[in-house]
Symmetry: C2
Subunit: 202 residues, 2 copies
């Protein structure tokens, strides 16, 4: 469960930081294809020359956008998990849903950036694809680890833990899209409650 670092493909000069900050805001708000490099350059107060000197291509900006968001989320979630005692894995599972609710509340209502990016990109050969798939795999791994601790010593063993982990994953992803689409209010609270039932009932 390492912090998912990646080689520093980009020299993060002050201008590059402004470019990335503007790109993150614009990409998340309007989508990746809908935002051009000219707009990113204008919004960040940087010339296109500088932008391309730092990032080389728009694709690379997209990769940095998603990788940065991924890492911020892992740090955010890690902090929330560390606040729960290690001996209470069930409480840590619930803390994941609480963290998602808090994260979503401060990020706005455009949903999960990875899901959105995946919808736009599609092509598995795109350099941003591993970042997207990586975060989801990491989340499933996290649920699997926690579920293994919850079910430790139970009769059903590993199969039960994997089943529980996937059920938690479904609830969590479902809450992400329900939040983005505004299907019903407080989806993370609902998902958390269903997760609690899974944990106590099984």
């Amino acid at each position: 469960m390492k912090p998912a670092e990646h080689p520093p493909r980009v020299r993060m000069t002050p201008a590059a930081r402004r470019v990335l900050a503007a790109a993150e805001r614009l990409f998340y708000a309007h989508g990746i294809h809908a935002v051009g490099v000219d707009l990113i350059a204008a919004e960040s107060g940087v010339t296109k020359k500088t932008l391309y000197d730092r990032f080389g291509s728009k694709e690379q900006i997209v990769v940095e956008y998603l990788a940065g968001r991924d890492e911020r989320w892992r740090v955010f979630l890690g902090g929330r998990l560390d606040a729960v005692p290690e001996g209470e894995p069930a409480a840590r599972v619930l803390a994941v849903f609480d963290a998602s609710r808090a994260w979503a509340a401060e990020q706005g209502s455009r949903g999960c950036a990875m899901i959105n990016a995946h919808a736009e990109i599609g092509d598995p050969a795109h350099p941003a694809y591993p970042v997207i798939a990586g975060q989801k795999a990491w989340m499933l791994d996290l649920f699997t680890t926690l579920a293994g601790q919850v079910e430790a010593g139970d009769a059903d063993g590993v199969e039960g833990a994997e089943r529980l982990a996937r059920a938690l994953m479904l609830l969590h992803e479902g809450a992400l899209v329900a939040h983005g689409l505004g299907v019903f209010p407080e989806p993370f609270a609902r998902a958390r409650e269903e997760a609690r039932r899974l944990l106590t009932g099984g």
Copy 2:
């Protein structure tokens, strides 16, 4: 629970049908922003003049694409539900998940077109937005109706039915994205199993 018709904004001539068929295939495979009208015209063997004579704008093609897909899904699901006796609401709930699995299997692995479109569009003022939100609201209504029949006569009553419906919705949406992202195999089967537990255990 009506079939969600909409006024015929477009005269569906043979050429228009070919345009829409090509647009559906291209939009779903590559995303909406990534596909231009020139490509749609070329792939459908129709001139841009004819395309604009029929649809007026790309936006309208997008609306027809999503509305058509929405209706096909409702018809498909309706057929599956009709195959289950009305007196067995729990079995009908499970039939929804079975239908989604079958639908996804024949549509490919690019996930839910509504979720993907929402990720690209974002702006609630877009004319396609009501179609997207409408399908999700319709699905929640469906689950709510079925949950009400399942819980009929129970002590918890309407609140319990709404809670169950939202839990089913979370599992279903979660399975949709898990399928699209390929997080783990057979997400619809997993979601169905968890739904069954919710139905029998509560």
